[in-house]
């Protein structure tokens, strides 16, 4: 088995170690702010019909002009965005009905909502380095300032499906921008075990526990069909990979892979040929894990899932690979 896949197999446990302690601490700190359950979103007017588009922050968004094409189409369905894609949506003139946020990181995630406190480039190069939202690379402070203005302007129209693990700074920023928050617990472990953390959390706040699949994009897909009840769910920007030619230094986990593997770091990347687009994309171990988990979940989901990214590595049983135009027109079916 190649190195990237071997590492990917260890990430279920590693993720628990990364997020459980801080996520539970955040749940305690967020407790006084919790007023609504995410289940109330199902009773809230959002987009029309039984279709939803889930928007992630992958590079296909810019490559395929997906958001610009979505806006030009005048599509009326429900749009559920991962927090990392909020800026790209608003800059393209697409206002998502729901934004999902889950990562407990104390400083980084608030930047996806525009951080009013940022006055100089951050010592953390996370946003400058990677391709997730390229506008931050060229002028970090200016891009942040513009995003603050957009989120302030459109915040009152956007609902946030907030995990109790979300950093308090994110929660404060959303409230300040006039966003309504609807809460849920991340599922941390098997709720049927007597010593389950998920069960203890539910007993504390009585909020539903959602199985997030490792990342906020998959969590947004879960919200779209399992919470909102949408039957046709399209995916935009959920690439779980990097397009051909992307330098390794621009990938999300590059510093960590170099620290772990030194000069063997490149062996951790997995290359996947996508027969639908005739390209070979590559991914780091986390994305391999996200992909495998998503394919397993999609195969058993109570909805039809359509990959409209026109790129990436997310294809297989239970997922129809279609163009965005076909999905918006109601065409295509699972293959």
């Amino acid at each position: 088995m190649e190195l990237g896949r071997r590492i990917a197999k260890a990430l279920e446990v590693a993720t628990f170690e990364r997020v459980a302690v801080v996520g539970l601490a955040n749940a305690e700190r967020n407790r006084p702010r919790i007023a609504r359950s995410v289940l109330e979103l199902a009773e809230t007017p959002l987009g029309a019909g039984d279709a939803a588009l889930v928007v992630g922050a992958g590079p296909s968004l810019a490559r395929r002009r997906s958001l610009e094409r979505l806006r030009e189409s005048g599509w009326m369905g429900t749009i559920v965005a991962a927090d990392g894609a909020l800026g790209a949506c608003l800059r393209a003139g697409v206002v998502p009905h729901v934004v999902v946020s889950v990562d407990p990181h104390p400083e980084r995630i608030v930047r996806w909502f525009g951080d009013p406190r940022l006055t100089e480039p951050s010592a953390d190069d996370y946003f400058r380095r990677q391709e997730m939202d390229a506008v931050h690379r060229h002028d970090e402070v200016g891009a942040n300032r513009a995003l603050v203005e957009l989120v302030d302007a459109f915040g009152p129209k956007i609902k946030v499906a907030a995990a109790t693990s979300a950093a308090p700074a994110v929660v404060e920023r959303c409230e300040q921008a006039g966003m309504d928050l609807y809460w849920w617990n991340p599922m941390y472990d098997d709720y049927e075990r007597p010593d389950s953390i998920s069960r203890r959390l539910w007993e504390m706040n009585r909020l539903p526990c959602l199985n997030g699949g490792g990342n906020v994009g998959t969590a947004a897909w879960v919200v779209a069909h399992a919470v909102l009840g949408k039957r046709r769910v399209g995916l935009l920007g959920l690439d779980f990979s990097y397009p051909p030619g992307t330098p390794y230094e621009k990938t999300q986990y590059y510093p960590e892979l170099v620290e772990l593997l030194a000069d063997r770091f490149a062996e951790a990347y997995t290359h996947v040929e996508n027969p639908h687009v005739g390209e070979t994309w590559f991914c780091d171990p986390a994305y391999v894990w996200f992909r495998d988990v998503f394919l397993g979940m999609a195969g058993e989901a109570d909805c039809e899932t359509f990959n409209c990214t026109e790129g990436g590595i997310l294809f297989g049983d239970g997922i129809a690979f279609v163009t965005l135009d076909d999905f918006l027109a109601g065409r295509g079916g699972p293959r």
């Binding site: 260890a10 997020v19 995990a163 879960v222 780091d284 986390a286 894990w289």
Partner: protein
Amino acid sequence: MNEYLKGNYELDAKIDDTTDAADSTDEFERKALSRLGGSICFVSKKKLIWNGDPADGAGKKNR
């Protein structure tokens, strides 16, 4: 450089530090792996939403 760092004495005791080295490697890998993980857990359960058990008076929506 090894010439300059070479000890000029002999120890009576034999030191076996292989266990400590293995432990520190495991610890390093564990910490490094935790930084490679995702932002939310995945639990191998069929239900995507769990909202308490019906016996708890909950279970309003379990999918």
